[in-house]
C-alpha cells in the first residue's frame, strides 16, 4: 500500500506531462480559420489600378482562384512574389490580389517593376474586406473553389512546399 502511494506523485506528473504535451504541441500559434468552408464575403472596393472602378465578389469570376493579401510594406510578400509569378505562368489557377493598407502609387510601381501575378488587385486601404476575411497580417492566401467557397487559408509565404501540402490537392479534380 505504501509503495503504491509513493508512486502517485510520479503518475500524476507523467499524466500532466502527457496532457500538456498533447494540448500544447499542436501548431496552434496561428489563428483558427473561421472562414474555411464558408462563402467568400461580399465586398465593394476600388481596384488598385483605377480608383474610379469598383470591384465586388462577382468580379472574382474565374474560379477556382487564389486571393492573396499583399502590400509593399510587407517584406514576406516580396519573398512570395516570384512564386506567385511562377504560378501565373505554369498553373491554370487565377490569382486575385488584395492590396492591404498600402499606398496606391507604391503598389502599382512594385507591380510594374517586378511583374503582376494578379488578374486585378482590390485596394483595401482601411482593411474593410480584410476584417471580413479575418486577416491579421500579410501575406495571407485564400483558396476559393468553383462554388465560391473558401477551402483553404494560409498565413505566411506560399512557396512550393506549402503549395504542394495545402493547395495542390484542390486542383487535381
Amino acid at each position: 500500500m505504501k509503495k503504491t502511494l509513493d508512486l502517485i506523485p510520479l503518475i500524476i506528473f507523467l499524466a500532466l506531462i502527457l496532457v500538456l504535451f498533447t494540448f500544447l504541441s499542436g501548431r496552434e500559434d496561428q489563428l483558427e480559420s473561421v472562414l474555411v468552408d464558408k462563402s467568400f464575403p461580399e465586398f465593394s472596393l476600388t481596384s488598385l489600378s483605377d480608383e474610379s472602378s469598383f470591384k465586388s465578389k462577382k468580379d472574382i469570376s474565374e474560379l477556382p482562384a487564389l486571393v492573396n493579401v499583399w502590400a509593399t510594406w510587407c517584406i514576406a510578400c516580396r519573398v512570395e512574389h516570384p512564386f506567385l509569378m511562377k504560378l501565373k505562368e505554369n498553373s491554370t489557377i487565377k490569382i486575385y490580389g488584395l492590396n492591404y493598407k498600402d499606398d496606391r502609387v507604391k503598389a502599382l510601381d512594385l507591380l510594374e517593376r517586378d511583374g503582376n501575378p494578379f488578374e486585378f488587385s482590390i485596394y483595401d486601404f482601411e482593411g474593410r474586406l480584410a476584417i471580413d476575411l479575418g486577416v491579421y497580417g500579410a501575406p495571407e492566401t485564400f483558396f476559393i473553389d468553383k462554388e465560391g467557397i473558401v477551402r483553404e487559408r494560409h498565413v505566411g509565404v506560399v512557396d512550393e512546399k506549402v503549395w504542394q501540402e495545402k493547395f495542390a490537392q484542390y486542383l487535381d479534380d
Binding site: K2, I8, P9, V34, G127, G134, Y136
Partner: protein, 134 residues
C-alpha cells in the same frame, strides 16, 4: 502592517486598471450617448489584438487594432449590443479574439483543468496526511 497592506491594495487596484484606455483616445471615438461609450471601452478591454496576441485592443496601437476599434465603434454607434459585437468578431477571427472563451469541448481543459488539479492536490495532501498519522 496596515501600511504595507494599503500599498499592496494600491498596487492591485492600479494593475486592475492598467489595461484601460488612455485619455487621448477620447476624441477619436465620438459617441452620441454615454452608455455606448462605456460599452465601447469595456469591449476594447475584452477583445484581443489579433496581431500582438497578448494585448487587448485598448492597449494596442497596431494598424489592425485601429481598424478593429473603428469597426467596433461603428457597430456600437449603430446600437449593437456587446453580444452582437462579439459574435460579429468571432465569426471573422474565431474565439481567439475574445479573452473570455466559451465553454465547449475544446476549452474544457482551460476551464476545468485548474479545478481538477486543485482536487488532485487536495486529495494528495489528504492521503499523505492520513498515511503519516497511521
Amino acid at each position: 502592517m496596515t501600511k504595507s497592506l494599503n500599498i499592496f491594495l494600491l498596487i492591485i487596484s492600479l494593475s486592475l486598471h492598467g489595461n484601460s484606455y488612455s485619455q487621448a483616445d477620447f476624441d477619436l471615438y465620438p459617441f452620441d450617448t454615454q452608455e455606448k461609450e462605456d460599452l465601447f471601452y469595456s469591449l476594447l478591454n475584452e477583445l484581443r489584438c489579433p496581431k500582438c496576441q497578448s494585448s487587448n485592443l485598448a492597449g494596442s496601437n497596431s494598424p489592425i487594432s485601429n481598424d478593429l476599434k473603428r469597426e467596433v465603434f461603428k457597430l456600437v454607434q449603430s446600437g449593437k449590443t456587446a453580444e452582437e459585437v462579439k459574435t460579429y468578431l468571432v465569426q471573422r477571427y474565431g474565439n481567439f479574439i475574445i479573452y473570455n472563451p466559451p465553454i465547449e469541448p475544446r476549452t474544457y481543459v482551460l476551464w476545468f483543468g485548474p479545478f481538477l488539479l486543485f482536487c488532485i492536490a487536495l486529495s494528495a495532501v489528504f492521503l499523505l496526511r492520513r498515511n503519516l498519522s497511521k
